[in-house]
Subunit: 206 residues, 2 copies
């Protein structure tokens, strides 16, 4: 970046260029709305909310977690969307090539950093995607309950726009049942109340 050309420390220069590149997260909009329904939420806001909710609800993780690691995962988990864009969880077509698009984005974005740091950031993203550690499982649970709450509080507006039904939501939320079982009644209550209110389609009958 020409504007920072005065810097002699090239490693630091790369890190600051990375910091500027990820500013684009503030312009990547998700499908879900803010709690007051005024507009869609962006990736930077979602990542912050996810991180602080992970901290707030740590006691409900089924397994003991290194909460510092969970929070780092939260901060980094959507960075690839700077290049790959947001893919709506209930968009079957968009999800077909999501993995490939995001892998390429990860190479490009984390490749801005020197190898050891690139590898560290990449490992946080990989861990989240693989969902195999206690930290990644709990992180995935919080990443899912955060927009569920926002969708519920905004009267299921985006569910209706996308004709989402309760079966899809329960499937997507399933990791909460095992990774944070005390939060499962939140999911159940939201789904049941939403169907009762007519803001969520009941699971399709066959």
């Amino acid at each position: 970046m020409e504007k920072l050309a005065f810097l002699e420390n090239k490693k630091l220069l790369n890190q600051l260029e990375f910091a500027v590149e990820i500013d684009k997260m503030k312009q990547i909009f998700r499908i879900n709305l803010l709690a007051d329904g005024s507009r869609r939420e962006n990736d930077a806001e979602h990542s912050w909310h996810f991180a602080i909710m992970a901290m707030l609800l740590e006691e409900y993780s089924a397994e003991k977690v290194d909460i510092g690691r969970v929070i780092k995962i939260a901060l980094v988990h959507d960075l690839v969307e700077v290049y790959a864009g947001d893919t709506y969880a209930y968009d079957a077509k968009g999800n077909e090539d999501k993995e490939e698009r995001e892998k390429q984005a990860a190479e490009k974005l984390f490749g801005m950093l020197e190898p050891a740091q690139a590898e560290f950031f990449r490992s946080l993203w990989d861990e989240f995607e693989e969902k195999s550690t206690p930290e990644a499982k709990y992180a995935n649970a919080i990443d899912r309950i955060q927009p569920l709450m926002l969708n519920y509080l905004t009267d299921g507006k985006t569910w209706q726009q996308n004709q989402v039904h309760s079966g899809q939501i329960l499937k997507r939320m399933d990791i909460i049942r095992t990774a944070a079982p005390e939060l499962w009644p939140v999911v159940q209550g939201i789904v049941r109340t939403s169907i009762d209110k007519g803001i969520l389609l009941p699971k399709k009958s066959r």
Copy 2:
């Protein structure tokens, strides 16, 4: 919150109400712009960017820090602005009653949580404000360099609007000199280049 009244776990209900209340951070706008100059940045975005930059630049902290604690501080440091609003760093009048306004906001906001967790969140905010631990010093350094970079990248537009001069910036950035000395050349380079380009007033002569 009536919408979550189905929850029997009252502690969890309070935590979720807190999670919804802090969604307002996404609507508290700061003076500085995003890196592309398109609009002002909000508190949720700033907190996320600060947290991830703290992680990215950890090696430049003068003292060894518990980075997990630094990141928690970053996530929480501006929460009181949900009630107290953002106070521009270079607004002398606004800063006169900032402390009192923010203390009242802290009581109200953290008071939504049960005492042990309220105390924990409050301790993170107090630590940041007191700037006495290595974690708080480094956190304050990153909290200052993040908007400095955005202001510089947007050609000092908000400096000019507010007639900010270089002496004010160097004073505000001073904690970087001691808490993250390898980042000090960034501050010096930005201030010098900005004065040269005519986008920042030089320090007032007496």
